[in-house]
């Protein structure tokens, strides 16, 4: 036994292991340099703050999506959920400031319930989450149009819109600090702490090998359902910020699910689960938003924008995929 040699395995390398945040930081840095060349004043505190504020909803959605993806599932329903939330909020508040807080609570509950339903259908009825949440997407879009007769009704109160639109003024050094940014920072820290907690580690383990997790006493269905609920809650918060930022419309959440999934993948998280960091996912979302802003600065024609976006996503993912599998 004493002769068993400790075999040094191929891992004593710098920590650029798959699932790390280093690649996305590198991409982000490159984009920042490009921004700095073209639009130096973008990096001034005030405009940076407002940029971060307006990016908060998609970053939160990416975090929510991360929980689901790292546990081995998908959530395609978040975009429609955001739309539904904004439309519901407008109709229920109908301009009445007194209804703001009850409706905010209601939205959070609504998000949690949609996540719960997604989770239970996926885990208990064994429907692949791609299908569950695709179905939920259709149901939510259909239902919210049906409920509002095809056009959003009512309006959001100023109190409601404050979270997404207003800022704390005259902060030393930083200038205006949007409320959305503060919400983002608090929730991002919470997300990071959550992923370091027992639940977070268990969540990743479930995504990595659900059988092992089950046999180690993890209630896999419960863990994954919680991930869906977290995604629903993130969508609720994103909806509150987004509704605040831009007001009510049926376009509020359109395409956000693909944006969020793209961001998560860009952040080095493996589709299929078991690998990646929540910080990576959030940085991925930030990178995407920065990319869009950059295209505005460089005057990339609106129509060509999706080409650029597609090319960058493919490039980033292909490069990291081929590198991580070079073994």
């Amino acid at each position: 036994m004493q002769t068993v040699q400790p075999r040094s395995l191929p891992l004593r390398l710098p920590r650029v292991r798959p699932g790390g945040v280093l690649p996305i930081l590198a991409i982000l840095a490159v984009l920042l340099v490009l921004v700095a060349i073209r639009q130096p004043d973008f990096l001034a505190p005030s405009s940076l703050m407002s940029f971060l504020g307006r990016s908060a909803p998609i970053i939160l959605l990416a975090a929510g999506q991360y929980f689901v993806i790292v546990s081995g599932e998908f959530d395609l329903s978040v975009g429609s959920l955001v739309t539904a939330q904004v439309v519901v909020a407008a109709r229920l508040i109908d301009g009445d400031p007194a209804r703001t807080w009850p409706v905010v609570l209601l939205l959070l509950a609504f998000g949690a319930v949609v996540g719960l339903v997604n989770g239970l259908i996926t885990t208990r009825l064994r429907v692949p989450s791609f299908i569950t949440t695709l179905g939920m997407f259709l149901i939510l879009v259909g239902a919210v149009y049906l409920w509002s007769d095809g056009a959003p009704k009512g309006q959001l109160s100023e109190e409601f819109r404050r979270f997404g639109r207003r800022a704390v003024e005259d902060v030393p050094l930083l200038g205006r600090v949007p409320y959305a940014l503060m919400v983002l920072v608090v929730l991002a820290v919470a997300a990071v702490l959550l992923m370091r907690s027992d639940f977070g580690r268990t969540l990743v383990a479930v995504g990595d090998n659900p059988r092992t997790a089950e046999l180690s006493g993890v209630r896999v269905w419960r863990t994954r359902t919680i991930a869906f609920i977290l995604s629903g809650l993130a969508a609720a918060v994103a909806a509150i910020l987004l509704g605040g930022y831009s007001g009510v419309s049926f376009q509020a959440g359109a395409g956000l699910e693909f944006g969020a999934i793209t961001a998560v993948v860009l952040g080095g998280v493996a589709l299929g689960g078991g690998r990646g960091a929540v910080v990576g996912a959030m940085l991925g979302a930030l990178t995407l938003e920065l990319l869009f802003a950059l295209m505005n600065f460089y005057g990339v024609s609106g129509a060509l924008r999706s080409t650029v976006q597609g090319a960058i996503i493919l490039l980033a993912v292909a490069v990291s995929a081929t590198r991580s599998s070079s073994r």
């Binding site: 036994m1 075999r7 040094s8 027992d198 990595d208 090998n209 046999l215």
Partner: protein, 503 residues
């Protein structure tokens, strides 16, 4: 079989392979003659699997040459190697459960007529092939997912034969087989030899190696230690080459009668879909061995006790109190731990760190009870205690050897201070060194008062480790044997008077 050999079928010269700068094979020479069984032995991680993958086209070597019938070959993939006449039977089955036997056997080289797959021809050929190895009862159009393990192996072998392989690689072919099935395999191997097929035979089971092979090559740390004629060597010598240690120190001392504590677990008249009329007692301080054929209900018993597929009838009492073990969680709360037989599929979370793997169960079940920091400290201590080697706690577990992975799994359960431990093939596919470490650990746990139930297909291990042996057959307990029982006793009970199929 040690007559002057004909010109070698396969010759490996100076094979080397590195992954990310780490040498896993270094200058390995080896040759196989037609009709020869050449065994390759060595600890896990000695480089056997990598070597087999190089021969079968899975990897390209960094250095050295592969010659087939005197011709140097470079395989660009498994397909190339297959075309050249090299077949491989893997330790884990490479079959598609959703497809038929014939579709599996001819996957990758389906018979075609005028460009289209000729299904009739495929079925006929498969049936003929199966008949030629004595398996007439297996229909060629049965879906593989519905077959038993042994039958699946037959399909696997038929698959290799269908390629007209000149050289067959068998990687732990008996790992999943019951003993009487091993006999069938022996017959099969001899028939292959008669056809002039060369075999590379990789196994941990020295009995088989001695029964079948004409020469044995020992690998250690990626290098060839020696190649010996089987007739002129002994098991002791072989193990010395592998690890440098005598066979005799294999098993720790059994429990003395005074070490045995009170009855921990009682199972009365219990059953479920796979089990009937199970009566069992397990005492603190004892190691109860469970023998039997694959599919006899051994694993089903462990899974029922752990709440994975619970008993549907009968009673279970724990320390005198009746319990319902409905799920792994309830079992864990009752102080039961379960080390599964399928380590890769059910034992580890491959891409998580050693530490996370070891903490998995404590986090899942006792999250609220103990302090996080204290728990982590304790698990780190346990990892040190079980002597996980060659890796830091932050290393992803998939890069560890099988033995070290198993130690991490053990640490995971020890962290829960279990009073009852269920081991299902705890040393399968594990190198000799780690194996005996695990044996020591099991015994130590029993000595410290745990009740241990250990399932093993490895008869020497079962006899060497157990204080008492219960043998199962067809979902029932066939009988109980004392520690002094012989291998023959176990087999007799396991097989029963009438030989019947395992599934």
């Amino acid at each position: 079989m040690s007559d002057p050999r004909p010109a070698p079928l396969l010759t490996l010269r100076g094979i080397g392979k590195s992954f990310l700068g780490v040498r896993v094979l270094d200058g390995v020479d080896l040759d196989v003659a037609p009709g020869e069984v050449h065994a390759v032995v060595g600890e896990n991680g000695a480089g056997k699997s990598t070597l087999m993958k190089i021969v079968s086209g899975g990897y390209a070597p960094d250095g050295g040459t592969v010659e087939l019938a005197g011709e140097p070959r470079v395989f660009r993939g498994p397909r190339d190697a297959q075309r050249a006449g090299i077949g491989i039977i893997h330790q884990e089955f490479n079959l598609l459960p959703g497809r038929t036997v014939a579709e599996n056997v001819y996957l990758g080289h389906e018979p075609v007529r005028r460009g289209f797959v000729d299904r009739r021809e495929m079925l006929d050929r498969t049936a003929r092939l199966l008949a030629s190895i004595g398996e007439t009862a297996l229909p060629a159009d049965a879906r593989v997912g519905r077959l038993g393990v042994a039958q699946q192996q037959v399909v696997e072998i038929a698959k290799a034969l269908a390629l007209d392989a000149r050289l067959l690689i068998m990687d732990e072919p008996t790992a999943a087989l019951a003993d009487h099935e091993v006999e069938l395999l022996y017959g099969l191997v001899r028939r292959l030899q008669e056809r002039g097929i060369g075999l590379l035979y990789v196994s941990h089971r020295l009995t088989e190696v001695f029964d079948l092979s004409s020469r044995i090559t020992v690998l250690k740390d990626g290098r060839r230690v020696t190649t010996v004629d089987t007739a002129t060597t002994t098991a002791d010598e072989l193990v010395r080459h592998m690890v440098g240690r005598e066979l005799s120190s294999y098993y720790p001392e059994r429990a003395a009668p005074e070490d045995l504590g009170p009855v921990r677990l009682t199972v009365r008249d219990a059953g479920n879909r796979k089990l009937r009329d199970v009566d069992l007692q397990l005492r603190a301080g004892e190691v109860l061995g469970i023998g039997g054929l694959q599919g006899s209900g051994r694993s089903a018993l462990a899974r029922a006790l752990f709440g994975v597929s619970p008993f549907t009838t009968g009673d279970v009492t724990l320390d005198g109190r009746p319990v319902r073990l409905r799920s792994p969680r309830t079992a864990m709360r009752a102080g039961i731990a379960y080390v599964t037989e399928d380590r890769k599929g059910e034992g580890i979370v491959p891409r998580q760190s050693v530490l996370d793997n070891a903490l998995l169960a404590s986090r899942a079940v006792f999250a609220a009870r103990s302090g996080r920091a204290a728990r982590t400290v304790r698990v780190r201590e346990l990892l040190a205690a079980v002597e996980v080697r060659g890796a830091g706690d932050d290393q992803e577990i998939r890069f560890l050897s099988g033995g070290n992975q198993q130690k991490v799994v053990l640490a995971r359960w020890l962290a829960l201070n279990p009073r009852i431990l269920l081991f299902d093939e705890p040393t399968r596919g594990i190198d000799v060194g780690a194996k005996s470490a695990i044996h020591d650990l099991v015994r130590r746990l029993a000595r410290d008062g745990a009740a241990v139930l250990m399932i093993s297909s490895d008869l020497p291990e079962l006899l060497g480790m157990s204080d008492r042996i219960v043998v199962m057959r067809d979902g029932r307990i066939a009988g109980e044997l004392p520690a002094s029982a012989s291998e023959e006793d176990v087999v007799a009970l396991a097989v029963g008077t009438v030989r019947e199929a395992a599934a």
